[in-house]
């Protein structure tokens, strides 16, 4: 998926914009918002602390455990006319449903308590994000969720490994303490490849494209909110 930043964020949407162009624009907005998130600013500046990393994992975990369930729920709501999407969702849910265990091992490897991690609650942003995802997945044929995948898998593929490397560099962490973020570079790159194939397969009509873009916008905003509202 392109992240071509030559597309201005405020470029008017015209009928000639492809779905890829429109999603790229959402991505650019997300990047701009992420640049304002305090923990990511500290990460970039090299002032991030082990506590920051621990709290990030703690907060992410509470939402990541919901990832496979909302994808599964979406899968169950695709009818037979959307067989390709149902198959993709089932496959994806299966692939992701053990991911949070990796995150939990990272958390323990830096000294965190598994019991505390598992008794944690979602932050304000995670509540909103997870609530929205489950709500959306409940709709018949929730094609718009491809927009959510575009954002979440895109973050995994394009940003997580960079964050992991920077946390390692600043905090002196071993690979086995940043498994979750490192793994997502490979796994989500494969997923974004699958997603791209679907988006360009011709099964997405104009109405579906509008839904996908809208869903991507909401999820981009709520994902950033999740990172902004750590521990709140």
């Amino acid at each position: 998926m392109t992240t071509d930043t030559t597309i201005a964020a405020d470029a008017p949407l015209t009928g000639t914009d492809t779905l890829a162009d429109r999603l790229a624009e959402v991505w650019v907005e997300l990047e701009e918002r992420l640049a304002e998130v305090p923990i990511l600013q500290r990460l970039a500046a090299g002032t991030v602390t082990l506590h920051d990393y621990e709290r990030l994992l703690f907060n992410l975990r509470q939402q990541v455990v919901d990832g496979s369930p909302w994808i599964s729920r979406a899968a169950s709501n695709f009818d037979i006319d959307h067989f390709t999407l149902r198959a993709a969702a089932i496959h994806h849910a299966e692939e992701e449903h053990r991911d949070y265990l990796m995150l939990e091992r990272d958390y323990v490897a830096i000294g965190g308590s598994l019991a505390e991690l598992r008794s944690g609650r979602k932050n304000l942003g995670s509540e909103a994000l997870s609530g929205y995802m489950f709500h959306y997945a409940d709709q018949p044929n929730p094609v718009g969720l491809l927009g959510a995948m575009f954002i979440i898998e895109g973050l995994g593929a394009k940003r997580a490994a960079g964050w992991a490397a920077r946390f390692q560099e600043v905090l002196g962490l071993a690979d086995s303490q940043v498994h979750f973020m490192r793994y997502h570079q490979e796994a989500d790159s494969a997923h974004t490849g699958d997603l791209e194939a679907i988006l360009t397969s011709g099964i997405i009509d104009d109405a579906a494209a509008d839904e996908i873009v809208r869903c991507a916008q909401v999820v981009a905003r709520l994902y950033a909110l999740q990172l902004e509202e750590l521990d709140r």
Binding site: L50, A109, Q168, L171, G172, L173, A174, D175, S176, Q177
Partner: protein, 385 residues
């Protein structure tokens, strides 16, 4: 090859049981006050230079504590020094020459007494260098990112086997007297973490290295067999216990005629560290060397000074004379005292050296003093990570 974490020593503890015992107080505890033994003891004490030591024995020579208790007290001191609890540990690596019981392993007993949560254990057996074998395991697991916090302890309670009852009716030459009047009790511990101490300096572990030369040397220090070579059917486990005792198998012995060879081999190992670049003699600030007697201090010191002409007594630390030779605990007891008494400054480098006579093992560790994270020292910027 992926990235590894860095291991730091962040807490230090030592425990020496009872009051220090001076040279005149030894016989009351260990016995051996006949004129011949008395004469041998004076001779050995003159050579080893030890003035004070501790025994986990009361005035009548009866044990006051278990070895595992010494270990736990040193560990507790190290945890207190770091400001953490046993429940914060994920691994415990214990070194001792002889635990209190044959089974289970020493670390299991220490963990059981220390408490805390579930953790990985290592019981490093051997003699003096088992201390750094335990440290090496701890440092390796921390570097791999498998454990955020590990405690390491070296602990010895040899005094109970040095008492007269072990020697009654046994042929005891210099091979046993040398150790009898040299060894004593104590424990030393360190906390190893993947992050430096948040508010005070830490010791970064640059490397740990242990080399055995058993392939080309006979046994030097031993118990549990007659002579220097075990033979099938004739170890302490094979023969009747009474026969084993009568044969003197329960007396710890050392072939003192091999000690010069041991010193030479140890210096050759040090030379190799310099030759392969693990030790930069122009940047080595402190040496903490375990040695059994002052005779070897002079040998080692002179040997090191051949490579480090600027080495002076200020950079050389040992507390053998006042804490005794506590085997696998010695290096940690010395490190704790050097640390606590403020010998080290950020940027300084420290070499730990532990020769083991058992069957010629040599262990070294290289440490660098690092400032707390909010006060980086200039030396840290070029640090290996």
């Amino acid at each position: 090859m992926g990235s590894m974490a860095t291991a730091y020593l962040t807490g230090f503890g030592a425990y020496l049981p009872g009051d220090p015992v001076d040279n005149d107080g030894i016989a009351a505890r260990l016995g051996g006050d006949d004129p011949v033994t008395e004469r041998i003891r004076r001779r050995v004490l003159d050579a080893n230079g030890i003035r004070l030591r501790h025994y986990a024995l009361d005035d009548d020579g009866e044990p006051t504590e278990l070895n595992e208790q010494l270990a736990v007290k040193a560990l507790q001191a190290a945890l207190d020094d770091r400001g953490i609890e046993a429940s914060d540990l994920r691994m415990l690596a214990c070194a001792t020459t002889m635990g209190d019981v044959l089974v289970p392993g020493f670390a299991s007993m220490v963990h059981g007494r220390l408490g805390g949560g579930p953790m990985q254990l290592l019981s490093a057996a051997g003699v003096c260098a088992s201390s750094l074998a335990a440290l090496d395991a701890a440092v390796s697991k921390v570097r791999l990112g498998d454990h955020p916090r590990v405690a390491v302890v070296g602990s010895e309670l040899s005094s109970r086997s040095l008492r007269q009852r072990r020697f009654d009716g046994i042929r005891a030459g210099m091979d046993s007297h040398f150790l009898r009047w040299m060894l004593s009790d104590g424990a030393g511990a360190v906390v190893v973490e993947f992050q430096p101490h948040p508010s005070r300096p830490s010791l970064r572990v640059d490397w740990v290295r242990q080399v055995s030369l058993a392939h080309e040397h006979e046994v030097c220090m031993r118990a549990g067999m007659s002579g220097a070579e075990p033979s099938t059917g004739h170890t302490w486990q094979d023969v009747d216990i009474a026969d084993a005792e009568a044969a003197g198998m329960f007396v710890l012995r050392q072939d003192v005629s091999m000690l010069d060879e041991l010193a030479d081999a140890g210096l050759a190992q040090f030379e190799e560290l310099v030759d392969i670049g693990l030790v930069d003699v122009t940047k080595l600030d402190h040496v903490i060397c375990h040695y059994s007697t002052n005779m070897f201090r002079d040998l080692a010191f002179d040997g090191l000074r051949r490579r480090i002409p600027t080495l002076d007594t200020d950079r050389w630390f040992s507390n053998l004379e006042t804490r005794g030779n506590t085997g696998s605990a010695s290096i940690f007891i010395a490190l704790e005292e050097a640390w606590r008494t403020g010998r080290f400054a950020p940027g300084d480098t420290v070499l730990l050296a532990v020769p083991e006579s058992g069957r010629f093992s040599f262990a070294f560790a290289h440490l660098t003093v690092v400032a707390p994270p909010d006060q980086p020292s200039p030396q840290q910027q070029g640090a290996l990570t």
